[in-house]
């Protein structure tokens, strides 16, 4: 019996696309979102990513992050609007919606305004701006829902594996901590103390931390007993070369980035950055020799992964191009107040983001187990 005949429960893993592809796709959509403030395009971006998430989300706890990120995005949008109303806005406007009583501020707070006239233009501008941020957050949420950060960290190169495990363990720490707090607050009720309120939260703090520490020690013992941190002997020469390459590479990356960002360093920036990245990668590869680890069923980077990552990158690239060539369509004006129009080509470009929904087969529903 070959593994492929083993029944439907296998397929969810076999068809999984490399987590890196999903993250590239989602982050590229986020980059695309920063290129425009057109609410129609942003709404289109949100809908496209939401559609893919709805069809391809994983059944892991990390997938719940999407809802959390959506709520956060909504909160960001609201806060942006509230600030625009309360603190005023530099946008000159003529359509006054209402006037708040203005709070007189001392002279050193010049340039800050509390209350005053609220114009439609200012509100619309704040709304566009908030929506852009919100779209960015939703894209990050989509990345979490499609491939949890833990899965992404597992794809790290061998030399970084142990760091990756440490980060994954740390990532699961927070949910455990929350569960502990809930359990101990419930226990307070059993002692006849109020189980709500800030005081209740503070009093369980110490026991929760003690419990978390104990659990961490138990986990460390289990990991140690299961061979975490076994290393292979490597010649001293290789060790030294690894260290030199990694450190030199990181220095190169830093210097190169500095060169890129300053006006004078335009000439040496890019070559230095590239050399640094190459050296660091070589160092990582060499460092991987110390690690004995092998990987169980690594996620393959296949044609689907290329398509997923490619579709996201194409959206980002096309939107950037459109923003450079036709900035007016992507940034609808607010003074004078006009209804935003849907620019045809950028909208068509965003629809490319839907590609994964069709090229990646859907994971089957988690089958109900008899036991």
């Amino acid at each position: 019996m070959t593994p492929a005949d083993r029944g439907p429960h296998l397929s969810s893993r076999r068809i999984a696309v490399h987590p890196g592809a999903w993250w590239i796709w989602a982050l590229a959509l986020g980059v695309g979102a920063t290129r425009t403030t057109n609410p129609l395009l942003l709404a289109l971006l949100i809908s496209a990513s939401a559609y893919v998430v709805a069809t391809h989300r994983t059944p892991t706890p990390a997938a719940r992050a999407y809802t959390a990120f959506a709520k956060l995005a909504f909160a960001v949008l609201l806060i942006r609007l509230v600030f625009a109303v309360a603190l005023g806005s530099p946008i000159p406007g003529t359509h006054i919606l209402f006037t708040l009583p203005e709070v007189p501020l001392p002279h050193w707070a010049q340039g800050i305004r509390l209350g005053g006239k609220v114009t439609a233009e200012a509100l619309v501008f704040a709304g566009y701006d908030g929506l852009k941020l919100a779209t960015l957050l939703i894209c990050v949420g989509a990345a979490n829902a499609l491939a949890g950060p833990a899965r992404l960290l597992k794809s790290l190169p061998g030399a970084l594996y142990e760091t990756g495990v440490a980060v994954v363990v740390a990532l699961t720490f927070a949910p455990h901590l929350i569960a502990d707090v809930q359990r101990l607050r419930a226990a307070r009720r059993l002692r006849g103390r109020p189980d709500r309120g800030v005081r209740g939260l503070l009093q369980v703090g110490l026991p929760v931390l003690e419990g978390a520490l104990e659990r961490s020690v138990a986990l460390a013992a289990a990991m140690e007993a299961r061979g975490y941190g076994r290393t292979a002997e490597v010649p001293a020469g290789v060790r030294r070369t690894t260290a030199a390459l990694t450190l030199g590479g990181l220095l190169g990356v830093c210097a190169g980035t500095y060169g890129l960002l300053t006006a004078e360093g335009g000439t040496y920036g890019i070559p230095l950055l590239l050399a640094g990245v190459a050296a660091a990668l070589a160092g990582l590869r060499l460092g991987g020799r110390r690690s004995l680890r092998t990987r169980y069923r690594p996620d393959p980077w296949d044609a689907r992964a290329w398509l997923v990552a490619g579709s996201g990158t194409a959206v980002a690239a096309l939107l950037s191009l459109a923003a450079a060539r036709d900035p007016d369509a992507l940034h609808p004006g607010v003074v004078p107040l006009v209804a935003p129009a849907l620019p045809l080509w950028p909208a068509a470009a965003i629809l490319l983001a839907l590609l994964p929904a069709f090229v990646v087969p859907q994971a089957p529903q988690d089958p109900k187990e008899p036991s």
Partner: protein
């Protein structure tokens, strides 16, 4: 395979060695059971095999431990990972990854096995442990038995020659425990794995063991021998051994089957002595707490439950707990009269009039996330009654207790405890009506010393200062005021939490899995304490997997399955009719209905 040579372990800051003079050898392919009372250093001995003691825990190890020829002094735990697989008490603390399949692969990844080998072994292990259907599940979503099997599987995949397990079945229901033990049995028989395991619940494991290592007392050298030899002298022993010792059987039986073969004379003696008054006095004293309840009312409650065994349903008016069931209907009725007449003077003294129920649950349903945790439950608890809630892991036992104490609001239906709805009652008021000792009693303890804990409990409950401390001294003699609650053993922690809860004198006492991690002595003390409370009129509801405890303590057993009550009735009837919930004594002496060794002893006296 494992060799201890005059090993003693002293932890930093400890006055003396935790274990001393440990000197034994475990040959390849044997299943060796490590037994002893709580706190004798069983976990230390197990930890020494995997090298976690002393490399990880600190302390000084004298002597020498070798595993598969490797000295643990020179080999760190990670260097032993390919020959020793260790599973600790809590499987959740053992998991590094988040899905079953990754968890099985993790150990092999660390050892650097080839991907094809890993793949093959994961598939083999999934089949061996019956986990194939769960392979992509998150480990957090598994039941207790499944978790334990995944934990065992995760250390099996590197094909260790030695498997070390610390209390693998103590958190499991009887069926899940059987499942795990069957796997161990299969490993020993088919793969020649050497297994060393520690367990408190000897009745579950003793018959699987090839040899037993007994640590009789802290710091005392171990006694090694065949199970029968060691059980003859062991301070901890399962009921079947207790019964064998009582009846003077030789060789000492370790399984129900062996015991039944020798039990015919004992059954005859018991049958003749039951005709006398012994059994009645025994039963009378056992069931004293339930006496205040008119039989008619109880029978109505049981009549409502549809799924009881056919034998019970045929009886229009089932006899009250325990007595009638034992010797058939005729004697039952007779003893019922006698018992009621002897106990009727007690009824007026009871703190609550017999008619009032302490807790009433009507048509209770609870939905958690998308799962029906409880479905249409009806239950009443009367003063002085002890009820055992039993059923699989995840059957809804803890949810039912949480409802009674107001931690979980009912989705539908009503819960009333002492006339109030628990989830709408303010905590300070609620503790005077109902108290719960949770699964981990440490959750209830916050303070740094026992004295502070007691003072806080008095304040919380509004009791006179010193109330809690008096209870602690009663339940747990010899505990000093400045002891830190975290330094107490499982049994001591339970006693302290119980004292804290009892400070408010709640008429209804709930215990969730109280015998987890307790040895037989601690369990016997708990039984005495709880019986005393029941006799004072406290109603007790305990959720437990421990059939022996339920047999000792409960007047009534409520069986839950998937959120439904599937049986509700007197302990004798319910446990006798179920093969997995019957205590060992019942199985041995069937068709006579005896539940505990104590009963048999009193009947023979």
């Amino acid at each position: 395979m494992i060799r201890f040579e005059d090993v003693s372990v002293t932890y930093d800051g400890a006055a003396g060695p935790t274990v001393r003079g440990v000197d034994f050898e475990v040959p390849e392919g044997e299943l060796v059971l490590l037994v002893g009372p709580s706190g004798v250093g069983k976990s230390t001995v197990l930890g020494a095999v995997s090298g976690l003691v002393p490399h990880f825990t600190g302390g000084t190890l004298r002597g020498r431990v070798t595993v598969a020829g490797r000295d643990t002094r020179t080999h760190k735990p990670r260097a032993l990972a390919d020959v020793v697989g260790t599973v600790g008490q809590d499987p959740l603390a053992h998991f590094v990854t988040d899905t079953v399949e990754d968890e099985l692969a993790y150990g092999m990844e660390s050892l650097g096995l080839a991907p094809e080998v890993m793949r093959r072994r994961v598939e083999e292990t999934l089949d061996l442990l019956g986990l194939a259907g769960l392979r992509s599940r998150p480990v957090a979503a598994l039941s207790g038995g499944q978790r334990q099997r995944v934990a065992i599987g995760s250390v099996l995949t590197p094909h260790p020659q030695v498997l070390v397990l610390d209390e693998p079945t103590s958190a499991l229901d009887p069926a899940a425990a059987e499942e795990v033990l069957a796997v161990l049995q299969r490993l020993v028989h088919d793969l020649g794995t050497t297994v060393l395991l520690a367990e408190h619940r000897l009745e579950r494991v003793i018959h699987y063991a090839d040899r037993v290592v007994l640590l009789p007392a802290p710091g005392a050298p171990p006694i090694v021998g065949t199970p029968a030899e060691v059980m003859a002298v062991s301070p901890v022993h399962p009921p079947v051994v207790a019964l064998g010792r009582l009846a003077g059987w030789s060789p000492l039986p370790l399984t129900v089957r062996d015991a039944r073969r020798q039990a015919a004379p004992l059954r005859e003696r018991l049958a003749t002595s039951t005709a006398g008054s012994h059994a009645d006095t025994a039963a009378g004293s056992r069931a004293a707490g339930a006496m205040g309840v008119p039989p008619l009312e109880r029978s109505r409650e049981w009549g409502r439950v549809g799924a009881a065994a056919p034998g019970e349903r045929r009886q229009a008016n089932p006899p009250p707990p325990r007595t009638g069931a034992r010797t058939g209907t005729g004697t039952g009725r007779r003893s019922l009269f006698r018992r009621r007449s002897t106990l009727s003077p007690e009824a007026p003294q009871a703190p609550h009039p017999p008619q009032t129920n302490i807790a009433e649950i009507h048509a209770l349903s609870v939905r958690r996330a998308t799962i029906d945790a409880l479905r249409h439950i009806d239950l009443t608890v009367t003063p002085g009654e002890t009820i055992a809630l039993m059923g699989r892991n995840g059957a809804g036992k803890s949810t039912l207790l949480s409802c009674l104490v107001g931690l979980v609001p009912p989705t539908r239906g009503t819960v009333r405890v002492g006339g109030a709805e628990p989830h709408r009652t303010a905590p300070p008021d609620l503790v005077r009506r109902v108290g719960l000792v949770p699964q981990d009693p440490r959750d209830l303890l916050y303070a740094d010393t026992v004295a502070e804990e007691c003072a806080a409990a008095d304040r919380d409950a509004g009791a006179a200062p010193g109330t809690c401390r008096a209870l602690v001294s009663e339940l747990l003699p010899g505990i000093t005021d400045d002891t830190h609650p975290r330094d107490l053993s499982e049994g001591q922690c339970l006693a302290l939490a119980l004292a804290v809860v009892l400070t408010a004198r709640p008429p209804l006492l709930l215990l969730d899995e109280p015998t987890r991690g307790l040895d037989y002595a601690a369990k016997a003390r708990l039984v005495t304490v709880l019986r005393g409370l029941a006799a004072e009129g406290h109603a007790i509801v305990l959720a437990t997997h421990d059939v022996e405890l339920a047999a000792e303590l409960a007047h009534r057993v409520v069986l839950l399955a998937e959120g439904d009550v599937i049986a509700d009735g007197p302990t004798a009837q319910i446990v006798v009719s179920s093969p997995s919930f019957a205590p060992q004594v019942t199985k041995i002496l069937a068709p006579q209905r005896w539940l505990t060794v104590t009963e048999v002893r009193e009947a023979l006296a």
